[in-house]
């Protein structure tokens, strides 16, 4: 929405109006996230009361209910931080590329991480979680760089259309390679397939703790680049005129986004569309100032992923639907809506 076109009066109103309310919105979003977190521990194929949760938090795993809680807590924690990471990296990517369709899933970044992990698994016998995270971040970075280069070739730079197409094509290509790597390896095929759907079901505190430092670094880089993103939103020339070092600002912000989505992909598998939907909703509520937009995207992303995970557990009781499937079913219609809203000329 900030990307192209002249601002009309209503647009300006949308940008201005929220300023007074954004603190309220942020608190409200945090409240919703809190409620969803509690619900995520309570709801599932077995309903658990609050007293059992308190007991389980105290370390007791005696009853079925407490055992269920002990399984749901790490999963909820992972859903919250994964959603926060994806939401924020989506917001940063949309800011860096000034592109309303940017999302780690659509731009092929998640699949870059996937391919890197799969190759590591199949040919280099990687097994430690930390090595997966490094490999995934490297794969994500290569894919992001590649897609951005391909998408910005030619006249007009990286238009939304060219980037989205380059991303989709790269994703298709990477998916073929993943199949080719995995198919002859029966020993890893099953594990890779379940990882590839993208879910938080197999969460453990161990893997979460290992990815946490990477995520903290990513969050920090993103927060620090918020001001730079605000200048970039004005266009490269104007940003340079305001004293911003455009290339550095863009590079730093991209690095933060790539670290976030690469690291989280290593743990959860590729989860698409969270990074697409969340920043749009945030901009409607609190405006386009990245200093507010980024944290708000993180909170709302966490809420979305936790909510999607709850839906996945309720919808297919007693089984469950992986959260990556739910986010695709929610996010793809939203993607289509944004595409339809774009002007034909811009497309």
């Amino acid at each position: 929405m900030t990307a192209s076109g002249t601002l009309t009066a209503p647009d300006v109103a949308i940008v201005r109006r929220p300023r007074r309310l954004r603190g309220v919105w942020l608190l409200g979003a945090l409240g919703v996230l809190g409620l969803l977190t509690v619900a995520s521990v309570m709801v599932g194929s077995r309903e658990v009361g609050l007293d059992d949760i308190v007991a389980a938090l105290g370390g007791s795993v005696d009853g079925f209910d407490e055992a269920a809680v002990a399984k749901r807590i790490p999963r909820t924690v992972l859903a919250v931080i994964a959603g926060a990471a994806l939401g924020m990296s989506g917001a940063v990517m949309q800011g860096v590329t000034r592109n309303p369709l940017a999302d780690p899933g659509i731009l092929g970044v998640n699949l870059g991480a996937s391919l890197a992990v799969v190759i590591g698994l199949a040919y280099f016998g990687l097994s430690s979680a930390t090595s997966f995270i490094w490999v995934a971040i490297a794969g994500a970075a290569v894919a992001a760089l590649f897609v951005y280069t391909v998408g910005s070739l030619g006249r007009g730079g990286a238009t939304p259309l060219k980037l989205a197409l380059a991303g989709a094509a790269t994703s298709a290509a990477l998916a073929s390679f993943v199949t080719a790597v995995v198919l002859p390896r029966n020993d890893i095929a099953g594990g890779v397939r379940s990882w590839q759907i993208g879910g938080v079901g197999g969460a453990s505190f161990d893997s979460t703790l290992q990815v946490l430092p990477f995520l903290l670094v990513g969050f920090a880089i993103c927060f620090l680049s918020a001001r730079g993103l605000n200048s970039l939103a004005l266009g490269d020339d104007l940003a340079a005129g305001l004293g911003e070092r455009v290339a550095i600002a863009r590079g730093a912000a991209s690095l933060g986004a790539v670290v976030l989505c690469g690291a989280i992909t290593a743990v959860t598998g590729p989860i698409a569309f969270v990074g697409l939907v969340v920043p749009h909703a945030c901009r409607l509520l609190i405006g386009v100032d990245h200093r507010w937009l980024l944290p708000f995207s993180a909170v709302l992303g966490a809420a979305l992923l936790t909510g999607a995970d709850i839906i996945g557990r309720i919808a297919a009781r007693p089984g469950e639907v992986d959260v990556g499937i739910i986010t695709a079913l929610i996010g793809a219609p939203f993607f289509i809506y944004i595409v339809r809203r774009q002007k034909v000329r811009a497309l």
């Binding site: 391909v150 989205a164 992986d322 339809r340 034909v344």
Partner: protein
């Protein structure tokens, strides 16, 4: 294919000749040259298909000399060869050629109609729709082969209409349709992923084989529906090829030239989706064949004239060669879809790079 850029480049190279006088003679002779080239290319492609077809029949775990193969085809009883060639290799090779023709012609139809090489059924969700339906039919409903095909075909058509309908906003613009197709494909793929995650081990095997696109286990029962579809729908599309090339000039020009744009478009969509869906139902979505055939054909045939038949031939050749490579070129036997996927992926990216460089709006 990629008509705008192709025409643009010829226009610039033709500038000097245009300064000279363009007489009826020069136009006619250049037309004649192009027609000759087209015929030559098609003849070469046809010959290559025949050669590859013969090689796939002869070469394998055991080699059978041409005499044996011909004997089997004529219905004689040849020890060993009757089973290996007659029951295993022949249906496989025939199916490879037929689905290659279907994918090639169906893909190039979409690419021509939407004036964009990316608008192939692989990318705009039609294959994903057929795959999701087939996975559902195999895993959840445990249906037999024929019903799975029917499911895939209906789903392919429905998805094509939904994508077309969603991208309609005072006319359909190719790029909007492609992006919306990508979105729909993402949804359908996640449905497929869910269905597969619920599958029992034995269903999973069949479903995965199907989803990668494979010619393993081809039999005559699979060949017949594809053959019928090709015989019925192929001529329909070839008959519409003039309207298709007029459509490339833009809807307004086409209707000024006497094409009933919307009606012709509906016929073309149904016929092309039908071909794709029947072929997909038989072998699964063989990655990127529908996408690659058109651009390759356009490269070797050059501008002017319809690309339908050359692309069909290129498609058949691609599937034949890729299947042969998948079977014998590596330690593991890969399904044909993996080979075409790995070959096609870099080409897809190259195509985007080239179009972006040329400054085309895609």
């Amino acid at each position: 294919m990629n008509a705008s850029t192709v025409h643009a480049s010829t226009a610039t190279t033709d500038v000097p000749t245009q300064r000279r006088e363009i007489t009826a003679d020069t136009v006619a002779s250049s037309r004649r040259r192009r027609a000759t080239r087209r015929r030559a290319v098609m003849a070469v492609l046809g010959a290559l298909i025949v050669v590859c077809f013969a090689i796939t029949l002869m070469v394998g775990q055991t080699f059978y000399p041409p005499a044996d193969v011909i004997g089997v085809i004529l219905g004689h009883d040849v020890a060993g060869a009757t089973f290996t060639v007659g029951r295993l290799r022949l249906p496989r090779a025939v199916l490879a050629v037929l689905v290659g023709l279907c994918f090639g012609i169906g893909g190039v139809t979409f690419q021509t109609m939407l004036r964009n090489p990316l608008a192939s059924p692989d990318i705009i969700g039609i294959s994903s729709g057929a795959s999701a339906a087939a996975a559902f039919a195999i895993v959840t409903l445990s249906l037999g082969e024929a019903q799975v095909s029917a499911f895939a075909i209906v789903a392919g058509l429905v998805v094509a209409l939904v994508v077309y309908g969603l991208s309609f906003k005072s006319g359909v613009v190719g790029t909007r349709l492609i992006l919306i197709g990508i979105g729909i494909a993402a949804m359908l793929d996640s449905v497929t992923a869910y269905v597969l995650s619920q599958a029992a081990e034995w269903d999973l095997q069949e479903a995965t084989r199907w989803l990668t696109g494979s010619l393993n286990g081809s039999n005559w029962a699979q060949v017949v529906p594809v053959l019928v579809a090709l015989a019925v729908l192929g001529p329909v599309l070839v008959g519409q090829s003039r309207n298709l090339s007029m459509g490339q000039l833009g809807d307004d020009t086409a209707s000024a030239l006497g094409v009933r744009v919307e009606r012709s478009r509906i016929v073309v969509i149904i016929a092309a989706v039908g071909l794709i869906a029947f072929a997909t139902a038989a072998t699964g979505p063989i990655a990127f064949v529908a996408f690659l055939a058109g651009p390759i054909a356009s490269r070797i045939v050059g501008p002017g004239g319809s690309l339908l038949i050359p692309s069909a031939l290129v498609g058949a050749l691609l599937v034949l060669v890729a299947d042969f490579c998948g079977q014998f070129a590596f330690d593991t036997r890969f399904p044909v879809g993996v080979v075409t996927g790995v070959l096609g992926a870099p080409y897809l990216i190259y195509l985007i790079v080239r179009t972006n460089r040329a400054g085309g709006s895609l």
